[in-house]
């Protein structure tokens, strides 16, 4: 690659994969993707073994500080009530995600105009519709058309089954006359694009051994690679370099053998997540950008949004077989998604109804919550809990705050000597009020369904999956890092396409919107490739 390529993509996760596929349709482009982790084999996912639950506190933990794979970098989140979750490997965090796939709402892009908070996005929901549709077709998304809280979808597979527990909760929402809908999930509920259909095994978030979950290693990547995109794994990009004209001219990386290498390119695309992307930018210092690439306005790493979560759990007297089915996805409610005059908060939240806990989690959390004893009563207690529980997760809209941020951590470095990151994050009063309201409403739903509410708390510490806002888009170069195409204001051939560019967080899982934005950006790149390079 000494002669260089046309496009370098850094990161092979949700957005990197969508970018690779989108650009690879132009067969004349030479595209290389760098991934710091390795390729996971479906056949080796722990869900094939009875002790699969144990892998969640080991190699398949979503906490990089627990997992400690060679590809992971240190994340000091001791200054945050929410710990960071991710996966560094081919396919990125989609390998471990639960595959929730709702879209942002149209109002999410206009929060300043509608509710006088934060800023409006420089693009509209309608700009993204063709790309949402395209993305859902590629990823294979289950759901049901006609949702009264959302605009219509074009391509949906049959919804994920409700199961007995889902029906009971759904009826409770009906009784309260509140919105609910089957989850939008990137899960093949029927055979789709040569991938098998879901057989309701449950543990989606340790890798789907069936290949039914739409992780990008099995959706976008096979086609992108067939189209000629080269993926270089176990190679860590540590700097984006600029030429004398101030344009990006490639990346520096450490290859799998530990050698320092340079790869030249005409266009560089960063897709390393809301933590990894600012880390790479801040580590790319030059005369033009002494405080980190694109950080002339001090915004790189700022405005970190994490979607603080609350959790409420109820126990039913009846065995509802609640642990059966895709663990993360059952139904959702967006009754309280929008701002209401009677609330003591602005914006809102989604309630996600989760399946019951698997056996080991049931035993451990039951013991810690004093619902399960040791000794003679143990098995009776366990029987009352297992398959009898339902959980509601409340995802709150997280408004951007400058002080919520990511910084380089020079004291803790990765296996290549690149600084780790420090996360500084606190919940706003608005968020706290959202979560409080969400907990109360969830308790009402569970009680009305006949469950005894056994626990409720917020914020949930191990829930920092949604990493947004740290290189935000906008029209004003003084107040944003990139424009609506993810194109850096200061370096026209450098693009950021992951959820770092989010202006606000919405109150739903970000991946569908992040990928739609990626496809929107790559459409622009394809149409303007001559000018850009």
């Amino acid at each position: 690659m000494n002669d260089g390529v046309d496009v370098i993509i850094v990161g092979s996760g949700a957005s990197g994969a969508a970018a690779a596929w989108s650009l690879s349709r132009d067969k004349s482009l030479r595209i290389v993707c760098f991934e710091q982790g390795s390729i996971s084999k479906q056949s080796e996912y722990p869900s094939k073994s009875t002790d699969w639950e144990l892998s969640r506190s080991d190699k398949f933990s979503f906490d990089p500080n627990v997992r400690k794979n060679p590809a992971d970098y240190p994340i000091d989140d001791s200054n945050s009530p929410i710990s960071i979750a991710n996966f560094n490997g081919f396919g990125g965090s989609t390998i471990l995600y639960s595959a929730h796939f709702p879209r942002f709402h149209p109002s999410d892009f206009r929060v300043k105009t509608l509710d006088n908070v934060a800023s409006d996005w420089p693009l509209n929901y309608s700009d993204l519709i063709p790309f949402f549709n395209e993305n859902e077709k590629m990823m294979g998304v289950a759901g049901l058309i006609g949702d009264t809280a959302n605009t219509n979808y074009d391509n949906l597979l049959p919804p994920v089954p409700l199961g007995e527990m889902g029906k009971v909760i759904a009826n409770s929402f009906n009784e309260k006359k509140w919105h609910w809908w089957p989850s939008y999930a990137a899960i093949n509920t029927s055979k789709h694009k040569d991938r098998a259909s879901c057989i309701n095994l449950g543990p989606c978030n340790i890798g789907c051994s069936q290949g039914a979950k739409g992780s990008v290693d099995v959706t976008y990547w096979p086609i992108a690679r067939k189209n000629g995109v080269q993926v270089i794994t176990e190679s860590r990009v540590y700097e984006i370099t600029l030429d004398s004209k101030g344009l990006a001219d490639g990346v520096m990386y450490i290859d799998a053998s530990g050698n320092e290498c340079k790869c030249k390119a005409k266009i560089v695309i960063i897709a390393c997540s809301g933590i990894g992307t600012p880390r790479l930018l801040l580590n790319s210092k030059s005369t033009a950008f002494p405080d980190g690439l694109l950080n002339d306005n001090g915004l790189v790493g700022r405005n970190l949004m994490l979607h603080p979560l609350a959790y409420v759990e109820g126990v039913f007297e009846r065995d509802l077989k609640s642990s059966i089915g895709p663990h993360g996805c059952c139904i959702l409610s967006q009754e309280f998604y929008e701002t209401r005059a009677e609330h003591d908060f602005l914006r809102g939240y989604t309630m996600q109804i989760l399946r019951g806990a698997p056996p080991i989690e049931t035993a451990i959390s039951g013991y810690l919550m004093r619902q399960l004893s040791t000794g003679k009563r143990h098995h009776k207690d366990f029987k009352k809990l297992f398959n009898h529980t339902a959980g509601i997760a409340i995802i709150s809209e997280d408004l951007p705050k400058l002080n919520n941020r990511v910084e380089l951590d020079f004291e803790n470095k990765d296996s290549c000597g690149m600084p780790g990151v420090k996360v500084h994050y606190e919940l706003s009063n608005n968020t706290k009020n959202i979560l409080k309201h969400g907990i109360n409403m969830s308790k009402e739903v569970l009680s009305s369904a006949g469950a005894k509410v056994t626990s409720s708390f917020s914020p949930v510490r191990n829930s920092g999956w949604h990493l947004m806002g740290t290189a935000c888009m906008g029209t004003n170069p003084q107040k944003s890092v990139v424009n609506k195409y993810g194109q850096a204001h200061q370096v026209k051939n450098l693009f950021i396409v992951d959820s770092s560019v989010f202006v606000t967080s919405g109150a739903v899982n970000p991946v569908a919107t992040a990928q739609a934005i990626t496809l929107f950006a790559c459409n622009y790149i394809r149409e303007n490739i001559a000018k850009l390079s």
Binding site: P106, I199, N200, L201, S209, S323, E338
Partner: protein
Amino acid sequence: MINSILDSLMPGDENLGMPPASKIDFHAYKIKYGIEQIVIDLLLEITKISNDKFLKDFVDLNEKQKSIILKEARLKNMRLFLTFLKHCFKAYYSHKSVLSIINAGSSPPFPKGNVLEDDDWTILMPVYERGSIYRKFNE
């Protein structure tokens, strides 16, 4: 002694068909997950408490006495006791025979998966009847 501790924590329940924890191969689990030192530390702790309190080894105590000793071990070193107990739960509830008895669904490697019955979407009628609730505005 380890079997005696396991069975005090998780004795069998004939009515429910649940085996005592000693019937699960905890030794193999201990080796696989490298928790030998945790087990040794707990055994030492329990032996000491048992001898201090009843002048007997744990295995020679009656059920009531064993229960008292385990409670005391928990209070004396909560972290060690909880770590050990979590491993007991992990070993027990990842065992194929136990998963089969508790109806955990299709057991790995999941030859067939689990069946969830087809849904009748008339359950959504109240939501449909209420009409659209998403926020409309002129972009």
